[in-house]
Amino acid sequence: MREARRTVRYTEYHPRWYRPQVSTWWWVTRWPYLKFILREISSVFVAWFVVVLLLQIRALSRGPEAYAAFELWLQNPLIVLLNLIALFFVVFHAITWFNLAPRAMAIRLRGRRVPDLWIVGTNYVSWAAISLVVVWLLVRS
């Protein structure tokens, strides 16, 4: 590709491309666009969750005092607010992800395509089951 570019000589006064200017804020004007960008931004809160998780593991490994300090930090109103916003985004991610699942993978059983509703339904049922297991693991002590 690069070789070709070097050898080809372009006409000097070629016509300008037609490139309409698109604003940086193109995605705020319509709900489907906004939804798309919100869905993409959810990834930032996925990363934020990993940060909190790593801080928790580090505090755990450093002893009871460090862990108490971590728990106190979690009670900071700003962190609570941030976690609330993060929860909204990760739930948004989960819902959009599950709803797209049938389009990402078409499963066939005995030559017939499994209905979308089944795939979405299986995802939501699994989500509920996994959530219950996590609750059971963390709440029973």
Partner: protein, 117 residues
């Protein structure tokens, strides 16, 4: 061609991370970030959590969760910056920052969990 196969690999990581994130992050974030600190549900005791994380299976789970979630973020955030903010001309810088961040976080998680006592 090499770039394309790379892209497919990164997409698989993104996709796997998306599945893991969708299934387990909402409940974990709800408990750790809201329900426990606000006292809606009594928080697990330190000794219990310590014993739980000491289990090799828990640590493996936590490592995979961090690894995949970070690569999910890296891939998606990279395209958010490309398309959302139209800064595709900073292509290389964004690429290095996103995947570099994910690699850094994964190494950090691996180190923390491997040396967990």
């Amino acid at each position: 061609m090499a770039k394309q196969s790379n892209e497919a690999f990164l997409w698989v990581l993104f996709s796997a991370g998306g599945v893991v994130a969708a299934f387990v992050i909402p409940v974990q974030l709800f408990l750790v970030g809201l329900a426990f600190p606000l006292g809606w549900i009594p928080a697990p005791r330190y000794e219990y959590l310590l014993a739980l994380v000491r289990l090799p299976l828990t640590r493996l789970y936590l490592f995979v969760l961090c690894f995949l979630a970070l690569f999910h973020w890296a891939h998606r955030f990279r395209y958010t910056l490309y398309d959302g903010l139209q800064i595709k001309h900073l292509n290389e810088l964004i690429f290095v920052c996103c995947y570099g961040g994910a690699v850094f976080g994964t190494v950090l998680a691996g180190n923390l969990l491997w040396n967990f006592r």
